[in-house]
Amino acid sequence: MKSKISRRRFIQGTLAAGAAAATLPSLSLVAGEVEHSTPSGITYTQNWCEMCFWKCGLTAKVVDGKVAKLEGQKDCPSNFGKLCAKGNSGVFQLYDPDRLQKPLIRTGERGSGQFKEVSWDEAIKYIAEKANGLKAKYGPETFTLFAHGSGEHSFVDLIHIMGSPNICIPSYSQCTGSRDIGWALTYGKPVGGKEPVDSENAKCIMLLGRNIAEALHVGELQDFINGCANGAYVIYVDPRYSKTAAKSNKYMMIKPGTDTALLLAMINYILVKEIYNKDFVENYTSGLEELREHVRQYTVKWASEITEIPEKDIIESAERLCAAAPHCYIHPGRRLTRYGTDTQFVRAIAILNALMGNWEQPGGIYRPVPLKLDTPHMVHDLERVEADRADGAGTDFPIASTDLGLANKMMQAIAEQKHPLKGMFVYGCNPFHNQGSTETVEKAIKASELIVTCEIYMTDTAWYSDVVLPESTYLERYDPIIITSRKSGYIQYREPAVKPLYDTLGGWEIAARLSKAMGYENHFMDVREYNKEFLDSIGLTEENMKKHGCLVGAEGDPFPVGSGAEPEFHTPSGKAELFSSMMDDLGYEALPSYEAPPMPKGDEFRLLFGRLSFHTHARTQNNAWLLALHHSQVDLWINSDRAKNLGIKNGDDVCIVKGDKKSHPCKAKVVDYIHKDAIFIPHGFGSVSKMLTRVVGVGARDSDFTSDVTDPVSGSAGFHNGFVKVVKA
């Protein structure tokens, strides 16, 4: 039992933060320098982009006190001088009159949109009194937090100060949780947010719904496009021909929900044909014989019937990968919240990668180069709360991350009120769009006595909140310097390009004011003071950062195994675990099996959703520059044969229907390149908040129609078992 606990702790540790190893005494000044001559009235300030979460380095050009243009920092390893459409539209966001401009306290019913503008003092006092009352009545665990974004730690620390462990970073359970758990079970560490796949040097790339071109992160896309240009053979598997499919050499339309069957058959084929990387598998993995025995049942013929992919394509994919090995990868995915079986799906991906022996090899999985620096703490004397959580992370789901929590299970816990969870804090995220069930969110909101949202826009969640705290955007505030690792380790600096346009504050200042008003004595550092102390400790100054924006501090070999080092895995066996001993210990299936998800019946469709290249989450849809790219039109992809049967023509207005719920109209995009079982809509539309003036009621809100199943291993959500009908508007 003891060893189990220590293993669980170990997994927890691996997920906590970007693991770092080496230290570096000083930073070399190599990146990002501003070389412009500066005519009078023009200044340049440094930042990282907050239009998504990849954190591209950027320089803001300010002309006569107004941000005129944003451009990528030339040498920032996140984006090498480039910005995407979202990044470029940050200027519009800054000056968008739809932004929250003053603190608001609700005056009408929740969801009525009736608020009064108040001063910061009034808003802070109101929250402090309410929160202290809740704490006295229900205990400190009554508080929950859903937080995402560069400023999330401000509210994370605040909730710790308030005494609650119920902190959720939705990027785990609503996005990458199953992926990182499945990977860590196999390799001893999670994939990590910077996608360490070496597309540039890959000879073969296989993507299972990893839509790199549209779920766009600039650095990741650059590597991928360079890989394509360098001649990588790209195999793309998706029920839908996406823009990434357009860059592939082989597109395989898969019946949605059957990806694990495809992988297991490929694994079986590769083992039977003995075309795996024998040196790696024999020396550095464990469980080969168990795996071989287990996958014997999964023949190519069987998989072809299930996935609807021709046998020859499955075989060719397996052979192409093996021929390229170790300079190939099968992408571990990013948002893996599909069918409630995602951890085992990722286990199958991880195993297939292990058979390639691509660990820390060029063209395979690279090792991010760490930059380990001792950083100051924004909050002094912070005691992190270690009590049991209301969402079951660490208990019901023993290897789910307790640092990141289970946002899905927490929202259910608030709705169910088995514990008195009465005070909900939301920072920078939007549960009405990121949860699988809006009914659950509605119930949770009804059950809560205080809901506080800190945001830059009146999101759907803010619309239902009691207090709305307007945050300064990234172009108006300082934030603590961040450390990032890709093929080098670097620090990134954020300074305001302009003073706040409206009566807004940065997250850290808001958290500090709330903490003080609630009577806590913890000292919050001023962000600039933090940055100064940080920079002092590494011999740099604010001036260095103002000039360079981004500095590379650690360079190293991202392919140590390729260079001859022995692979090391922090797993219980010390090897890459094909057979997962930890899953075996915990009573989960130690080898992945195919479990068919529920399938649509009759005239139902499986609802799939995802990103467009030019929108992030549910955050950017109201941006007029981005809306103009698609004329505010929200497409609903539907298979041509199915559409014909329903009398739906391309361009028709159509609605999604499930039970008594009906979406706002979308435009039918009738194509033969989406699987007949599925429809697809872009994420983030169909908002109800009337203060998102350009998109209120535009398109469908996917979360009204998705499933909210739970992966039994990671505890993460599964959204793609939602079945809907489509009708003409």
Partner: protein, 187 residues
């Protein structure tokens, strides 16, 4: 030798992310609903016979024999020495002849200013030694800009390389005799 500015798109690298469109909009305060550059999607053949989508950027072709210049009654549209087709907004009367004459649909009417508008190859930026905004921002490095009369320029090197390696290189509607200066390169 005189400069002759041109642009090439390495179309294999384009993913239709539309960063170019928004960077241009930001740079030039292009009216909200309009863009000076676009990306079209081509489809060949259909799904059953190996579907392939192609993403093809376009913008003003800065033609050597530009119909917009020919039809402009006030000479507001003119061809510069360096090859750039420009609009002198001060003498543009907003007659829209140029807009309808352009075979590339590169121009639109700016209702705020009452004049025709289009891509300028980011003239003030190139004067500062910067690349055009669309080139600078393009995450796929699709766009290559430069002086085709300078053999050392990146675009000259690309076109030379394309010719040596027999890449497919074309321009839009060359049959019209407009002599456009946007090259499409497919490896």
């Amino acid at each position: 030798m005189k400069k002759k500015y041109a642009m090439a798109y390495i179309v294999d690298r384009c993913v239709d992310c539309k960063a170019c469109m928004v960077a241009c909009k930001a740079e030039w305060h292009v009216p909200e609903e309009d863009f000076r550059t676009h990306i079209d999607t081509g489809k060949s053949p259909d799904y059953t016979d190996k579907l392939r989508l192609h993403f093809l950027p376009h913008q003003c072709n800065h033609c050597d024999d530009a119909p917009c210049v020919t039809v402009c009654p006030t000479k507001a549209s003119y061809k510069r020495e360096d090859g750039i087709v420009s609009i002198n907004q001060k003498i543009c009367v907003g007659c829209k002849y140029c807009i309808v004459s352009c075979p590339y649909d590169a121009r639109f009417f700016n209702h705020e200013l009452g004049v025709a508008e289009k891509c300028t190859f980011c003239l003030p930026r190139i004067a500062e030694g910067l690349a055009p905004a669309c080139v600078t921002t393009c995450p796929g490095n699709v766009r290559v800009f430069g002086d085709v009369n300078d053999p050392k320029s990146e675009i000259s090197a690309l076109l030379r390389d394309a010719s040596e390696k027999h890449y497919k290189v074309w321009k839009l509607r060359q049959d019209l005799g407009t002599e456009p200066n946007i090259y499409y390169v497919q490896k």
